[in-house]
Symmetry: C2
């Protein structure tokens, strides 16, 4: 196990109707003038935004609003938000939505206390300070409600890049699983895939002797295999929604990834897909991961066999561990298919003729990621082809 | 899943030689005048205390010392510490040791900012504030390095009682697994048993639909089954020590227990053993748990069968689930025996003729605990007898 630091100070407020406590927690964490940040009309139509505003008003807090966050959130709205915060003297940002909204809020939070261009923190700088952010989560997926990470897409060149630092961890996050019950099956499955992907990126490591984090990773994956089909079957299943929602936080606050090298190449490979086709991040991951796994399998067959047996219930083939490993990947694909996810370019609507372009763009990221297997141009090309 | 709040804000500093950073973290978390609190001579003899003092001095911090914490830490030394803190204007307590030292430090931290008797927080009050505490952990066991709990024994009547509140969570905890390599096998096994016990207290619940926390509990237990025999075999196995040390934190910062009723009767039953015989807490737990499990088994046979199959690798007996459940308990006993733990009164040195006295004393706690099965006098008596 490698040396590590870990701090996940976010105050989690979990359960039914807990969004009505938003004002109390904004106040507790020092907010006076709040920017409420959200996406499309669903938080308005569902009445959630009104409940949140009521809660803030009851605590005597003033607020302004900025809606319009898109999936794969864009830098344009971040610039608008930064300007707004500076002009209005905002001291707290409350994100009401999913990972896109939260990431956009985090980017605004960095930019609001910085004299330069916020994009610096997605290209050349690590953030050291930011306005405090609180979240009310409406989809179990990105894990941004408990993480110090954010991903933003810059419109010029559709560059999708990440930033990270402990100052980005939310002060509080309110997780009411009932808020996710209205999500369509497809979005639910995309979110679930993202959660599993956050575990895979950490699970495949060259660090030896990391049994506790291996087992914690497996715990999240096993939970997903049980609970996700239940919400696809019945979107109103509160209990399954609750298990998935908490699993989504555990998958990405880095508790399951400490002390070990992580990979994160598949996220990079997927980012090119969602940047080009504007597909859901989770759908892109369902396409990339089985292909990536197949490509890197020989690097550590027994690690893949471990996942196959411990997570997917495969019987270990002691004569041929690789057969077990491949069976695990096959079962993962079947699982993705069963919850309505695409598992190849064709199903996603991606095109073989775009591969060279994506490889070219991915090149920028090479060297920054790839803790399990470093990928060169040839490897990236091969993985995209395996995903056809 | 029940509604819950969860916040584990402790900054964890994990790995080799990291105790040399103690001064930096005390400073970061606002300490100027530090009370270094520790137990017996081992932290002195090993040179650990000197390294810590050097680190504080290098940061320009002043400090006083208070050693002498005993296992099952006593109120007497807490009173001394409280007085010392008040007199010397201590603003930070640095605990160097195991759970006993940390719990003693937490009790002093509460008392130092309170006008009344600190014991109030172990009897009639919940703590709302305390001096900040940092820890340098020397044994993987109590999980106090990441928890908001403390247990103190009052000499009069040898009352062992707990207190809890988020203000007791350490600001930072330094976990260097190498510091635990000098621990004798017996103490190591006692600590491991305590870690497993913290999971059992949470695992046996009447709350339905808690798959994620079930799986996380099982992750910790599976890790212990793999790693503990390796350190008993080779105390210098750093990697196994590291996995156990992090598992010990995960087992008790309550991540694996949120959203579910917990039990904690076995800890109460054990407290009477260690109060009366001054035995190691872990040893007492190894005696109590199999007896408690056997007694309450019929309350939820399938939950015990789940543990037996998922954790102890038993094959599910679909014709007779209770046989599977019992096999799990039997394997747990075999495991405890294999790592040198006592599993009955005789091996612990406890006496049948003391049972009535212990039942009498335990009576005080009834009603406060017992989330899985509420125990009456008859039940407590029966469990102690099952442990003979």
């Amino acid at each position: 196990m490698n040396n590590f630091d870990f701090c996940s100070p976010t105050y989690f407020v979990f359960g039914k109707e807990r969004e009505t406590e938003a004002g109390r927690y904004v106040k507790k964490y020092g907010g006076n003038k709040v920017l409420i940040h959200y996406g499309g009309g669903s938080v308005v139509k569902s009445g959630l935004l009104d409940r949140v505003k009521k809660s803030l008003t009851e605590e005597g807090l003033s607020f302004i609003e900025l809606g319009g966050v898109m999936p794969n959130p864009r830098s344009g709205l971040v610039y608008t938000g930064v300007e707004l915060c500076k002009k209005e003297g905002v001291d707290f940002i409350l994100a009401v939505g999913g990972g896109s909204v939260i990431d956009s809020a985090k980017a605004i939070a960095m930019g609001a206390v910085y004299d330069g261009d916020f994009w610096d923190f997605f290209s050349v700088k690590r953030p050291e300070k930011a306005l405090p952010v609180g979240t009310i989560l409406t989809i179990a997926a990105a894990g941004s409600e408990g993480s110090g990470d954010a991903v933003i897409t810059k419109e010029e060149g559709m560059l999708k890049r990440g930033s990270g630092g402990d100052c980005l961890r939310p002060r509080f996050s309110i997780l009411n699983p009932a808020l996710t019950q209205s999500l369509p099956a497809y979005q639910t499955a995309c979110g679930a895939t993202d959660i599993m992907a956050h575990v895979f990126e950490r699970y495949f490591t060259n660090t030896k002797e990391v049994e506790i984090t291996d087992r914690l990773c497996e715990a999240v994956l096993l939970t997903m295999l049980k609970e996700v089909p239940r919400v696809i079957e019945d979107p109103n299943n509160y209990e399954a929604r609750a298990n998935i929602m908490w699993a989504g936080m555990v998958a990405h606050n880095n508790l399951v990834g400490v002390g070990r090298e992580q990979d994160w190449n598949s996220h990079g490979l997927e980012h090119e897909l969602s940047a080009l086709y504007d597909c859901a991040h989770g759908a892109g991951l369902a396409v990339i991961f089985p292909a990536w796994m197949t490509y890197v399998l020989d690097h550590d067959v027994l690690r893949f066999a471990q996942m196959a047996t411990r997570v997917f219930g495969c019987e270990m083939n002691f004569q041929n561990p690789k057969a077990t490993a491949l069976e695990g990947i096959w079962r993962l694909k079947k699982f993705f298919t069963s919850i309505g996810m695409p598992i190849n370019f064709k199903e996603l609507g991606a095109r073989e003729e775009d591969i060279d372009y994506m490889v070219e763009k991915f090149g920028i990221g090479i060297g920054k990621t790839g803790g399990f297997v470093a990928l060169d141009r040839e490897a990236v090309t091969a993985i995209y082809h395996l995903a056809l």
